[in-house]
Amino acid sequence: MKKSKVKIGIFPLTGCEGCCVAILDLPGKLLELQSKIEIVNFRLMEEESHLETESYDIVFVEGSPLTVHDIQLLKRVRKHSKYVISIGSCAHIGGIYHMKQYHDTDKIHNYVYRGKKGIENIDVKPLSAYVKVDFALPGCPITGEEFYDFVYQLLIGKAPSITQNPVCYECQIQGNQCLLQHGDVCLGPITQGGCSAICLKSKQGCWGCRGLVEDAEVSNLVKKLREKYSDKEIAKFFEVFGVKEMINKK
């Protein structure tokens, strides 16, 4: 009997699908991988919709569970997959859409839908609020390279890992100008690296889309930011990608 290929499912929930696009932006790697494994339910690539009750070796989930259907799907794929991996900030730590939770959610729902009722208004939570997540590929969006490296690590039976160094470390290697010293907001010292400090290359301070790095010294950063910003302003920056929740949990 033919040995079956490793079967990977990719499921985007509610979201921008930018992480799926990041995967697609390296088409050479995708095609190379396709010859080694079976990729199913990559809805940007194929018509056949695979049922969530099929069994998988690895399932990647992007986005936020924001409909009853999203939540059910997430629970079902968890049941039928050996590994569930979150891809992107939304799935990992709530991401941009999680900012909804810092508002009166009924009030902003009324604002957007002008008082019309009948539309689900589910709280924005990361995947881990609903199911066990085996591993997170962080970032908004993820880096395509990290995704493929991760899959290859799993294929050769290596326990996947993400280097635990702050964005700051990678930024210094790149020789970028330090925006924090310059008085801008940058969460580089407390944010998990692996992104090659890509935002800093474009002189955009890090807002923590990859989440907190292990042993993040948040209080040191806050002390530095207080030289120029109020606590309220600092908290707002922590809100953007969901870092605030991670700090609260620490």
Partner: protein, 420 residues
């Protein structure tokens, strides 16, 4: 009464379903349902700082983040009374054209073309047409790389901000990619010539085509908003005078109409309205079809997209030459918070995109409204489907469903954008 339901239509951006019903032999009802959750992006932005809007709104869509970023920036610049330099505008145009190239390449070739030839899985498409698929990917990648060099990243731009660009893109790298222009143009033409060998379904339904229009160029960044049915013009500030957003109970996507009629935006609308402004190679390509304009067959949106790929390549090369000629470039102008209202429109790959904001003196967002191309054309797509259904009533179930999906995908709907 026969009903047709198609769940989870793939190869579109975001999740959608279709429900249709034949009321009698000649009349049908059609409805597109979004399966995306409500993210309430406009609500999220309330109370946030003006400079967060381009970053947050680009996350509405991972396929067209650039145009959300740029439209948000333009609206904020109008609210803050910021005037940018010609070199900033040129770079933005190049960035937007690069975005259109890569979005169209994936949609026209990998989402819609397989419908025309009856292949449902793109991995099979690649096996069946390895040469053409490779070329399509190369054309797309060229657009992706240009967007990366200027925007700082392929998905969700970083470098493009209110007031211009944080850093000048790596000109050496840009030069290298621009040097490939003739080759890429040839490849785009090859794809076009390949795709037009296959026949598109017959269909005709005149409608109101709405797009930006300018006398000097094929407008994507700026221009007046042109409505083809009554030949009227509007600006971003007055766009909502005759255009209404309609909120229906239980509907996550707001429908949009102009003077109570559905209208179409996107590649075919632009081409119908601005054919004269197309660049020579793009014009030549469309003329091969020998179709009288305006073209009322919505399936031709697919070919209009491929023509636009050719046009974008020609256009951004012109813009880059102009950009290079400017000495003493100023890529970032000063921005200061103040109270005000700002409106902007741009052409996203899928059609007109509208952003509006109101700020207080500290630059906090008091009001925000985003109307996306898919929200604009959804009612028109439903009207098209209602005309298509009686036309195909004698077809087998499978053939009916295939054609319905082909038409839906030809519009290139982005349900993530529409729901936001």
């Amino acid at each position: 009464m026969k009903t047709i339901k198609i769940n989870h239509i793939a190869k579109t951006e975001g999740h959608l379903s279709f429900v249709g019903a034949m009321l009698d032999n000649n009349f049908a009802q059609a409805h597109i349902e979004t399966e995306e959750g409500a993210r309430l992006i406009e609500g999220i932005l309330l109370g946030r700082k003006y400079y967060e809007a381009p970053i947050i709104t680009s996350r509405i869509c991972g396929v067209c983040p650039i145009v959300h970023n740029l439209t948000s920036i333009k609206a904020m610049e109008s609210a803050l009374n910021v005037k940018v330099t010609p070199e900033i505008i040129l770079l933005r145009k190049i960035l937007e054209n690069a975005q259109i190239i890569h979005s169209h390449a994936i949609h026209a070739y990998f989402f819609s073309f397989p419908d025309i030839i009856g292949v449902s899985n793109n991995f099979n498409l690649i096996n069946k047409f390895p040469k053409e698929s490779k070329i399509a990917l190369e054309v797309r990648d060229w657009g992706v790389q240009l967007a990366r060099i200027i925007g700082g990243r392929t998905v969700h731009p970083i470098n493009s901000v209110i007031g211009g660009f944080n850093v000048e893109p790596d000109l050496k790298e840009l030069d290298e990619f621009m040097a490939m222009k003739d080759e890429v143009l040839k490849k785009a033409a090859q794809i076009y010539n390949f795709v037009i060998k296959y026949k598109l379904p017959k269909f005709q339904r005149p409608t109101n085509y709405v797009s930006l229009k300018s006398n000097s160029e094929y407008a994507v960044y700026d221009g007046k908003i042109y409505f083809s049915d009554n030949k009227s013009y509007d600006s971003a500030e007055t766009f909502l005078r005759d255009v209404q957003e309609i909120v229906l109970p239980h509907e996550k996507v707001k429908r949009t109409q102009h003077l109570e009629r559905a209208f179409m935006v996107g590649a075919l609308a632009r081409l119908n309205n601005s054919f004269d402004q197309l660049n020579p190679e793009a014009k030549k390509a469309w003329n091969k079809l020998k179709i009288k304009l305006p073209c009322y067959n919505s399936f031709y949106n697919i070919l209009a997209q491929v023509v636009e790929i050719v046009n974008c390549i020609e256009e951004l090369e012109k813009d880059y030459k102009l950009y290079k000629k400017i000495s003493d470039k100023k890529l970032l102008v000063e921005v200061k918070p103040r109270s005000g209202k700002g409106y902007a429109v741009m052409e996203a790959p899928r059609g007109l995109l509208y952003h509006e904001y109101e700020l207080n003196a500290q630059g906090n967002i008091l009001h925000c409204n985003v109307i996306t191309p898919t929200a604009m054309f959804l009612a028109n797509l439903e009207k098209d489907l209602e005309q298509l259904l009686p036309q195909i009533k004698n077809y087998s179930d499978k053939k009916q469903k295939d054609l319905i999906k082909t038409l839906i995908r030809a519009y290139d709907p982005c349900i993530s954008c529409a729901t936001h």
